[in-house]
């Protein structure tokens, strides 16, 4: 996420990372880990596990937060969440695609079909349910969705 932080800045999305470590550990981690040389994200210290529990990502067995990612809109509503078990890292490109799609929907009210990226066809605003039901394929071809 940090490596793509310029992209989130460009999109106007704040980033906050959280683990159950203390703020002192966070500081030491950033100072010592070569991979974090240019790390710029605020790191919350959830050493009492309250936030992890509230978000449903606290693992009682291991005493840690599992890998959860949440997208929240300006009204404070959670729009998307992805939760992975610890051994597998996340894919930031897919997340950026989702952020761009949610922002497009918020701006236009249009609906983004599978695989949507900026520039691709959306489904129209105020869709006439009668006309579209069972006929989405007449409006957008499978090839367009998969491209």
């Amino acid at each position: 996420m940090n490596a793509a932080s310029h992209k989130f800045k460009e999109l106007g999305v704040e980033l906050l990372v959280v683990s159950c470590d203390t703020k002192f550990s966070h500081k030491r981690f950033v100072e010592t880990e070569p991979l974090l040389k240019d790390f710029s994200l605020k790191m919350a210290a959830d050493n009492k596990h309250e936030m992890s529990q509230a978000f449903g990502v606290y693992s009682e067995n291991d005493g840690v937060a599992i890998r959860g990612r949440f997208l929240v809109n300006p009204d404070g509503t959670v729009l998307a969440q992805e939760v992975l078990t610890p051994p597998v890292g996340r894919n930031v490109q897919e997340f950026i695609r989702q952020v761009e799609a949610f922002m497009h929907v918020a701006k236009t009210g249009e609906v983004c079909p599978a695989n949507w990226r900026p520039g691709k066809k959306t489904l129209p605003v105020n869709t006439d349910a009668e006309k579209m039901t069972g006929k989405v394929g007449e409006y957008i071809a499978l090839e367009e969705i998969l491209s």
Partner: protein, 50 residues
């Protein structure tokens, strides 16, 4: 009730934090992000990077 947070209001929080840009200890809370798009990422722990 659905256990996913999706479509629900983000839980409130207020925590100590470290800001690597200023090098300072700060406090972060949910109110800081009112009116803004926000991504919250949890990870298992410092020094266990994936």
């Amino acid at each position: 009730m659905c256990s996913s947070l999706v479509t629900r209001q983000m839980p409130e929080f207020k925590l100590d934090a470290y800001d690597p840009v200023s090098g300072k200890y700060i406090t972060v809370c949910s109110d800081d992000y009112k009116g803004k798009w926000l991504t919250v990422c949890f990870y298992p722990g410092d020094f266990t990077f994936v």
